[in-house]
């Protein structure tokens, strides 16, 4: 019985992390119809920038309590600079071309960013755990859990709600929705589609970097993190249906709980559990749980 509680808690924690890292990816796909393979690199940039800035911040003597704002700042910094740059300079040239080429483009960008990160931050691991340790521990069902992951859960929920609210409530959000529904009609109605694209990509980049920045205190940041994340993020987004935020949430929950169960019951299978779920879901529903097939009119 206790095990179920642990699985549930672990599952929700992992699910919220998965949701946070896949939110940006699925959102960008929804608006731009682009699968941003460089999403993992943006996550890594957020992690590295977050770690460096917190390191500098703490060494300068500022209180740990404010380091969370620094992490947020790092994410915004990366998202607001790298995001628009990539979109304007590279993506813009390739929107109308074949899907495969767009994919290759973002793939090329991810290769480049991988080395940029190595050049700027080197290959030694970054271990900046102060923000993680500062929150201490809490007892859940008799077992000590670190508090920090729950903060991550909160951030994930906040991010998801923010994106959803922006789309549903604000005027700009509704413009974005109209572009998602039908790009051509929106443009014909006077919507500034290129601006919407830049905005959407930037928001996605911020979310990616946010995931990286706030994960950094929990892990040892090394060059390999980018690819782990893009594969996982894709798996979750694909399960839920690319472009669907609710789908990503449900996909994240599904994978999170299953993986937690695997970790507790059959540890050897934890990595395989995620991909097994993805393979199974896609076998039955090739476009994911909430995805839509686009049928050609003839």
């Amino acid at each position: 019985m206790e095990r179920l509680v642990y699985i549930a808690v672990d599952g929700v924690i992992f699910a919220s992390w998965l949701f946070l890292v896949s939110l940006g990816l699925t959102f960008i796909y929804g608006v731009l119809r682009v699968l941003n393979v460089a999403h993992g690199s943006l996550y890594a940039l957020g992690a590295y920038m977050g770690s460096s800035l917190v390191l500098l911040f703490l060494r300068a003597g500022y209180p740990t309590a404010l380091s969370y704002l620094v992490l947020l700042g790092a994410a915004l910094l990366i998202g607001l600079t790298v995001g628009p740059f990539l979109e304007r300079v590279f993506l813009r040239r390739i929107y109308l071309k074949e899907e495969v080429l767009v994919l290759l483009l973002t793939f090329a960008i991810s290769l480049m960013l991988e080395d940029v990160i190595k050049l700027v931050w080197g290959v030694e691991p970054y271990l900046v755990n102060a923000p993680y340790l500062a929150l201490g521990q809490v007892k859940v069902a008799g077992v000590a859990y670190a508090v920090y992951p729950f903060l991550l859960t909160g951030i994930a929920v906040a991010a998801g709600t923010l994106v959803w609210a922006t789309m549903a409530r604000t005027r700009f959000g509704r413009l974005v929705v109209s572009v998602i529904e039908d790009r051509e009609i929106s443009a014909a109605s006077g919507v500034n589609v290129p601006l919407v694209f830049t905005f959407a990509f930037t928001l996605g980049a911020i979310l990616a970097a946010l995931g990286g920045a706030f994960t950094a205190p929990m892990i040892s940041v090394v060059p390999g993190v980018a690819v782990e994340v893009i594969v996982l993020a894709f798996a979750v987004a694909a399960i839920g249906g690319l472009g669907s935020i609710e789908g990503a949430a449900i996909g994240a929950l599904l994978v999170g709980l299953l993986r937690a169960a695997a970790v507790h019951l059959a540890p050897e299978l934890d990595l395989l559990a995620i991909y097994a779920v993805m393979a199974l879901v896609l076998l039955v529903r090739p476009y994911g749980l909430f995805g839509r097939a686009e049928v050609r009119r003839i």
């Binding site: 483009l105 960008i109 050049l119 690819v227 798996a235 694909a238 896609l282």
Partner: protein, 318 residues
């Protein structure tokens, strides 16, 4: 095709006069060209796999296990086992993958290749983990070449197999299946309305592609003498994609051209600055995508066309 074959024949003749490291480089170029050829067959169908490293690894580890567990040392047999390993893996994964296109196809391949990577790492007591597995010298029709001739022996083996493979691929490209996969890229609806099956065509091409990947992997393993899980890592797959685009996929010889250029350039670039290798790769890939989607081969075609005013019907459409 004929000039290319002549060129390869010439290469075979002069090989004994070339330095050892050049022979090795060329062997690796040919071996990897086979994997890239597999990719190109799919690219002609509009499908890009970001996970072909898994077939490369499958072929390599097949050699490793065949040597270690079964004691097989015959080079040709080992290559055949690599091919079979690739084909087998592809025939299983293809069942799921042939239903997908575009980015799903690309990313699912990536995901599976990373799973294989994880498995190869995790089960270290079988695979050797990060240390990898060693590959002893192979025999050629029972004969064990002396160290002096080993490089050359592997070279001729790889060259020979490559020539056969590329010739067969050229044949397949000119067959109904070869044309249908290009047709499927253009218009899946029309293919169905001709009574042919797109998923089946893709599946068959995918299995062939996996077989080529495994073949390339086994030849690589024999040449290098060492097998590691990184063969299935995404950056390896990325290199294959890069070479496919570099060489161009309008003609089956594109991968060969691209692979040779790549290996030669890489050899120098890596020595120059290992930390900017991926950067250069990505940058060049970017340039190719934006300005020269047909790859090096399209440059060659343009030159020929300019000289003879031919119409090439097999130009890839981007």
């Amino acid at each position: 095709m004929l000039p290319a074959l002549a060129g390869l024949l010439l290469l075979a003749v002069v090989a004994p006069a070339l330095p050892g490291w050049t022979i090795f480089l060329l062997s690796m170029a040919f071996a990897k060209a086979l994997v890239v050829l597999g990719l190109v067959l799919l690219l002609r169908g509009g499908l890009v796999s970001f996970g072909h490293g898994m077939y490369y690894a499958a072929g390599a580890y097949a050699v490793g296990f065949a040597m270690k567990l079964l004691g097989i040392r015959e080079a040709l047999l080992l290559s055949a086992m690599g091919l079979a390993a690739g084909a087998l893996l592809a025939s299983v994964l293809g069942l799921l993958l042939a239903r997908h296109r575009g980015l799903f196809f690309a990313m699912l391949n990536l995901a599976f290749s990373m799973i294989l990577y994880a498995i190869l790492l995790k089960f270290y007591w079988v695979t050797g983990g990060t240390d990898g597995m060693g590959v002893r010298q192979a025999t050629f029709a029972g004969l064990l070449p002396s160290v002096a001739f080993l490089r050359l022996a592997y070279f001729y083996l790889t060259l020979g197999i490559a020539v056969v493979a590329f010739s067969l691929a050229h044949r397949v490209a000119g067959s109904p299946t070869g044309y249908l996969i290009r047709a499927a890229r253009d218009n899946e609806v029309r293919v169905a309305y001709m009574g042919a099956s797109v998923p089946q065509t893709i599946y068959r091409t995918y299995v062939l592609s996996g077989a080529l990947g495994g073949l390339g992997g086994s030849l690589s393993a024999l040449n290098v003498g060492h097998i590691v899980p990184e063969l299935s890592y995404w950056t390896q797959s990325g290199e294959f994609v890069f070479v496919a685009l570099l060489g161009g996929y309008g003609h089956v010889l594109g991968p060969l051209a691209g692979s040779i250029v790549f290996e030669l350039v890489r050899n120098y670039a890596y020595k120059f600055s290992p930390y900017t290798w991926q950067l250069s790769l990505g940058a060049i890939l970017l340039v190719i995508i934006l300005f020269l989607p047909g790859g090096l081969w399209s440059l060659f075609e343009r030159a020929v066309r300019w000289r003879t005013r031919w119409a090439f019907s097999s130009r890839p459409r981007i």
